[in-house]
């Protein structure tokens, strides 16, 4: 297995390297689905240039990275410009490796479970089932065209994904301080990963429970509080460092203010831009509140209540919902959670809409650029076309997430109530209420 993994790394690295050095790099990097105002490398270069010229890069609408990122990228651009591509590729490969380890640990967790109904041995996972999914996870990340394009286009989503992957790994390993620090770093860059604090704290509390000698059944509240405090402290520290680097707090307006207020209405694969272009000005505040609550908070509590026993699935669904509903999503975010899905390979049997979702993904991925060209370059289509394609893409993702969750529920039900469902001697069907 190890050799297969290393081979995969090599192949993926070669593909990325080849694309980086080809003529397609600029085209891919300029595509609006790949680079948004938040993660575009062009904006990073512009910000670094302004910074070096002594002009505040946060005044005006051109740069939205954190000061920490600005410092790092500035050093990269000025000292090692020829190695930047390699750095992106290496980060991608590291992310894949981290996800591989995460999947391995998760698989081993799946084996130990409670007692189930009598005739469900067919459903249970066997040792042989644990070997392949991590490889699939790594492959799904390495060879996903979304991720490849995101890397070749040199978007900072690569670094965001790296932080997220480390969060998952540290979360599942149970290292509180490291996990909270990395999560704070991810939150610093784009606000939404803060919702991952919930599954992270569940995991950390579980880890504490298993490591404690008393063998308590329930999770301790103090663990949650400690996790939350650690996270907040890490975030504040990072914000303080950023303000020191930027010489003030106005960077908040250009980073978090930008994410929350959505001033730039360039089209992307998200849902915000179309609505905000069309609405009346005096409803703007209402729309912002509605959309941001939808993106971050609305599904957090119900999902947590339902999936508190499965924090990894919770984290994955939250990541997926984030990628669909955030204010400036890109294909790099989509590719990340798609890479997580093979961890639940055992659920794929129960998924009903796989074919539909797959077709959706394929068609919208192809239609998107076509309609974009028609709109922007041929001037024969308009924004509604592109938004329709984007909307279908979002629908496909929603279907995918709900399908996975349905499948999980069904498998659970089957595990606890047995494969043969008979009530009073009659065959029954599972019905959703």
């Amino acid at each position: 297995m190890e050799n297969l993994i290393y081979l995969e790394y090599a192949v993926a690295g070669i593909i990325r390297y080849w694309l980086l050095n080809s003529d397609y790099k600029q085209t891919i990097g300029d595509r609006v689905e790949i680079s948004t105002p938040l993660n575009s490398w062009r904006k990073v270069t512009e910000g670094a240039y302004l910074y070096n010229e002594g002009i505040n890069p946060y005044v005006g609408d051109n740069f939205h990275e954190t000061p920490l990122g600005l410092t790092v990228f500035d050093k990269m651009i000025s000292h090692i410009p020829q190695w930047i591509g390699i750095i992106f590729i290496v980060c991608d490969l590291v992310t894949a490796h981290v996800l591989y380890h995460t999947a391995q640990i998760f698989m081993s967790e799946l084996v130990e479970k409670d007692k189930y109904a009598k005739d469900t041995e067919a459903l249970l996972l066997k040792q042989s089932d644990l070997v392949l999914p991590p490889v699939y996870v790594a492959s799904a990340y390495l060879f996903n065209p979304y991720i490849i394009f995101s890397c070749v286009g040199q978007t900072t989503t690569v670094f965001a994904n790296l932080c997220l992957a480390f969060t998952f790994l540290l979360m599942i390993k149970g290292h509180r301080l490291a996990c909270c620090s990395v999560l704070a770093l991810a939150t610093l860059q784009s606000l939404y990963p803060a919702t991952l604090l919930v599954p992270a704290s569940i995991y950390l509390a579980q880890a504490e429970r298993t490591s404690s000698l008393e063998g308590r059944q329930s999770l301790r509240a103090s663990s949650f509080i400690l996790t939350a405090v650690t996270f907040i402290a890490a975030l504040l520290l990072l914000l303080y460092i950023s303000s020191e680097l930027a010489g003030g707090w106005e960077f908040l307006h250009a980073t978090y203010g930008f994410i929350l207020n959505v001033p730039d209405l360039r089209p992307n694969v998200g849902l915000f831009w179309y609505f905000f272009t069309e609405m009346f000005e005096n409803f703007r505040l209402l729309f912002i509140y509605a959309f941001q609550i939808n993106a971050a908070l609305l599904y957090l509590v119900p999902l947590t209540l339902r999936l508190h026993g499965e924090p990894m699935l919770l984290a994955a669904s939250l990541t997926a919902l984030m990628a669909v509903f955030k204010s400036y999503p890109s294909l790099g975010d989509v590719g990340f959670y798609l890479a997580l899905l093979p961890m639940w390979k055992h659920l794929f049997n129960y998924m009903q809409q796989g074919f539909v979702v797959g077709c959706f993904f394929l068609i919208t991925s192809v239609m998107g650029p076509i309609v974009w060209h028609l709109w922007i370059y041929s001037r024969s289509a308009n924004a509604n076309f592109y938004f329709g394609v984007t909307l279908a893409f979002a629908t496909a993702q929603i279907f995918l997430v709900t399908d996975i969750l349905f499948a999980y529920i069904k498998r659970e039900f089957s595990l606890y109530h047995g494969l043969h469902r008979e009530v009073n001697g009659k065959t029954t069907k599972l019905v959703l209420e």
């Binding site: 179309y274 609305l298 509590v301 709900t402």
Partner: protein, 570 residues
């Protein structure tokens, strides 16, 4: 880059479709947690969480972000302004040699004026020291005597024995606030002078009536001429020289303005501020053709006649050049038109075919200004040697006419003829103190009425249309206006005319500012149906499962309570 749809409705149509699809998406995504599972409690709590976010957080949020900002206004106080008492109180002192005569005059005058609706006059006898009257050699001595009332709005009726030395009239109105009358004057004559010249009650009555019921009553002549109330006036003096190549004018206009107009403007400064500007217009013609009339005089045995009814047409070509791009104050335009020798002398003929008396060809346009036609002198015109001819206009004549026109335009009334009554001629000053007082009275009433009407129509508008934004500035203006109106009425009652005038001006300006504030219109024409068209497709499909699940939640909770109570019973 986004192509704009043709109309708002097609835009809404497309958007509704998209919103419907989007909310279907929400609904789908919201469905999955309502699954049947082992852990009932968690399911219900998940539904509760969903409900909490949507209804408890969402609804107030929606309400707060889409409300129209409206400051509360004193609607009841504004409505009560209808019954505001605006009678003017005035103390008039009468001084006579003989106290019995004085008391009788007081009683008579009180009797005559007790039915006045607009005035609450209090006549009382004042005894002056005889020494003042003894050493009187001329009326100027009396004018400069220390007993002259100084308070704005007061009057003194002084019996001067031997008034026949100075004048043939029985009643003589002084330049300050005193009316001199002879020993034979009756109370009736005095009341006539008071009512018609000093108090101007008819004019007051008509002014207010014309404002409150404009379709029924008209302004009187003085009111039609008077410029509208304002805080500041612009005075523009224009010299029109249609053919400068034939006639060149040498005139220091700024100096003339300063010498002749400034004193009067200074005296009128309690009423308003004034900015005086002047300009010269060349190559502007009359646009009307005067008739040629042969006569024996003139410059070449002819002169030109302008009929009275075509005079308004003269103003039209001038208007283009008289506007100001900077100031919004009402402007009094005074125009001097100097025709060249070939078109001179130009005279104005009245309707009866008679030339205007007094040798002054001038006319006044109500609420606009006045025009003087100043002909070059015959000496200049007969001198054919020099071309262009140079002429210095007679400043005194022109400025005199302007001053008279200005007084009328500001609202200083002309006095009707009353037999055996006259006023002292103006010498040093150009405005009598009592004239200023009566002007202040009329303006106060005008401004109070205008403020009241504006406030009432504004409050009606605001209470009927809920879409109008009322911001803090407008609220402050309205409150200030209402306060000032009430205070001005009170001050008028007790006779504090100058303070009442200032308050009424403040009220008038604040009411106008509130009424014409552009921020009122911010959301005015936003139709309600667009609001609902935006909300309903977006939020309704999401609320349906929530509301349905409320039933389940209630059932579950009541089940729990029932089971608990059952346990208790058991």
């Amino acid at each position: 880059m986004v192509k704009q749809p043709e109309s708002t409705y097609s835009r809404l149509g497309g958007m509704q479709f998209i919103e419907g699809w989007f909310s279907f998406l929400w609904w789908i995504s919201g469905q999955w947690f309502l699954l049947s599972a082992q852990i009932d409690a968690n399911r219900i709590f998940a539904a509760v969480a969903y409900v909490v976010v949507l209804i408890v957080i969402g609804l107030p949020l929606w309400w707060k972000t889409t409300e129209v900002y409206r400051v509360s206004l004193p609607y009841s106080r504004i409505a009560a302004l209808d019954n505001l008492d605006v009678t003017q109180g005035m103390n008039i002192s009468i001084s006579t040699l003989d106290t019995a005569r004085g008391d009788k005059l007081v009683a008579d005058l009180n009797d005559i004026f007790k039915t006045s609706k607009w005035f609450q006059l209090t006549f009382f006898a004042l005894s002056l020291e005889k020494k003042y009257l003894a050493s009187v050699h001329s009326l100027e001595d009396l004018e400069n005597a220390p007993f002259q009332p100084r308070k704005v709005g007061e009057l003194l009726l002084l019996e001067v024995p031997g008034l026949a030395r100075f004048t043939a009239n029985h009643v003589l109105v002084g330049l300050k606030r005193t009316v001199y009358f002879s020993s034979e004057t009756t109370a009736v004559k005095l009341s006539e002078v008071l009512e018609s010249w000093l108090l101007q009650e008819k004019s007051l009555r008509q002014t207010v009536a014309a404002m409150t019921a404009p379709t029924e009553t008209d302004q009187d002549q003085s009111g039609r001429r008077r410029m509208p109330a304002a805080e500041e006036y612009d005075i523009m003096i224009t010299v029109v020289n249609p053919e400068p190549e034939k006639l060149q004018l040498n005139w220091d206009l700024p100096k003339a303005v300063q010498v002749y107009l400034e004193p009067l403007l200074h005296e009128l400064s309690p009423v308003a501020r004034y900015t005086v500007k002047s300009q010269w217009l060349y190559f502007v013609t009359l646009n009307v053709q005067p008739k040629l009339v042969a006569d024996s005089s003139g410059y070449g045995r002819k002169h030109y006649a302008l009929a009275e009814d075509i005079l308004p047409q003269i103003i039209t070509p001038l208007e283009k050049k008289l506007a100001s791009h900077v100031s919004r104050n009402p402007c009094l335009n005074f125009v001097v038109y100097v025709p060249p020798c070939e078109a001179a002398p130009l005279h104005i003929y009245r309707r009866q075919g008679v030339r205007v008396k007094g040798g002054v060809d001038a006319f006044l346009s109500p609420r606009w200004g006045g025009i003087v036609i100043h002909n070059p002198s015959s000496l200049i015109c007969h001198n054919t040697s020099v071309q262009p001819k140079e002429y210095s206009p007679d400043t005194v004549a022109v400025m005199g006419v302007f001053l008279a026109q200005f007084r009328l335009l500001m609202g200083i009334p002309e006095l009707e003829e009353i037999s055996r009554a006259d006023r002292l001629p103006l010498s040093v000053v150009s405005l009598g103190d009592w004239e200023l007082d009566s002007l202040l009275r009329v303006r106060t009433m005008e401004q109070l009425t205008s403020a009241r009407l504006t406030l009432q129509s504004l409050s009606q508008l605001l209470s009927e249309i809920s879409n109008i934004v009322i911001n803090d500035a407008v609220g402050d203006s309205v409150y200030r206006a209402v306060d000032c109106v009430e205070r001005a009425a009170k001050l008028l009652k007790i006779g504090q005319l100058d303070r009442a005038f200032n308050d009424s001006k403040e009220a008038f300006l604040s009411a106008e500012a509130a009424f014409t504030d552009p921020s009122l219109l911010a959301l005015l024409y936003f139709p309600d149906d667009q609001k609902y068209a935006v909300y309903i497709p977006l939020f309704l499909p999401v609320m349906i499962p929530v509301i349905l699940s409320l039933k389940n939640i209630y059932a579950w909770f009541s089940g729990r309570i029932n089971s608990k109570s059952k346990l208790k019973e058991d």
